[in-house]
Symmetry: C2
DNA sequence: CGGTATCCCCTAAGATACTG
DNA sequence: CAGTATCTTAGGGGATACCG
């Protein structure tokens, strides 16, 4: 309804605060959404973090990232390369050797990511507590509901026997 | 049934720089990974961004977030509530009214997220350029490979006719 | 070594319908 | 209005096999 008149694909202008929020995340043709998805990616973050230390070859990455498949590592690296976050250098030797490194832009992204990780580390205790509290509350409510149901049930039974 | 976070002793200490990287992302019983996943979530970010302005009711959120299903909004809100990022207030009126708001912790998260969004906005042009360059290069290489293949093919044909 | 191609499974998200 | 329950499907991701 309200967003019907916004046809220019790719353009992601921010004007009013309320409008801006709508734009930078709703439309997936918006760059922001795509980059966020890359960051959100299960493996991308880890690759970026590892490459921040030093450049690594394909197999080195594979060994360091426990549980990643060849396919996913290759995919992830190609995505990162395409976005200009990681550079790929082929050494025409035998056996072949390919080095991956963070580009300057990739490095700045890692800086930004760090602040996010820092946030999670600062708040992980609070979050764990919140979860525990929530689970306890939900559990309590469920039990209360069950008790109530049991009570209604017994009342119904009583009524039935009374009628008999 | 939802995913129960069974508390395996996922101690997530950081010692050496190299070790630390491995830990905070490889093991999914590690808190950081889970919180990152929440942040990365397609809808969570948008909900947080919208609630930062003011508290909203369920339907208000649904209307503002174009394309979200009832189910996903409910799920997202439950998760955020469980993590202590969003508060849920039920007004026992008729019709029922439920308000969602950012908790203080949720607000600080939004601050952190902002820096990420800022980064994407700063670099979206560079990324678009990198993608265009990559695609062009790949396209060029593919065409070159095809030309080469065609050439080899014609040479093979020539050799065949020479033998005849 | 450093990939790509193929198959296949399983989950997460969408659509739909129903309830307090 | 504010959800939950149920069904169904697309695609993310693993395993495997094969090329340069």
């Amino acid at each position: 309804m309200e967003d019907g008149t916004f046809a220019s694909p790719g353009y992601c202008g921010d004007t009013a605060a309320d409008e801006a929020v709508q734009q930078w995340d709703t439309r997936n043709d918006c760059e922001v959404r795509q980059i966020l998805d890359r960051i959100a990616d299960k493996w991308s973050l880890l690759v970026i973090a590892l490459l921040d230390q030093r450049s690594l070859r394909f197999t080195e990455l594979r060994r360091r990232i426990d549980g990643i498949s060849q396919r996913m590592l290759a995919r992830t690296l190609r995505h990162l390369e395409r976005d200009g976050l990681v550079s790929r250098t082929v050494h025409p030797t035998v056996p072949p050797r390919v080095d991956y490194a963070l580009t300057p832009m990739g490095a700045t992204l890692h800086e930004t990511i760090r602040s996010l990780v820092a946030w999670t580390e600062e708040h992980q205790n609070a979050i764990a507590a919140a979860r525990a509290a929530y689970d306890a509350r939900v559990q309590g409510e469920k039990e209360a509901a069950e008790r109530e149901a049991a009570e209604r049930d017994s009342i119904a039974r009583e009524a039935l026997t009374a009628l008999r």
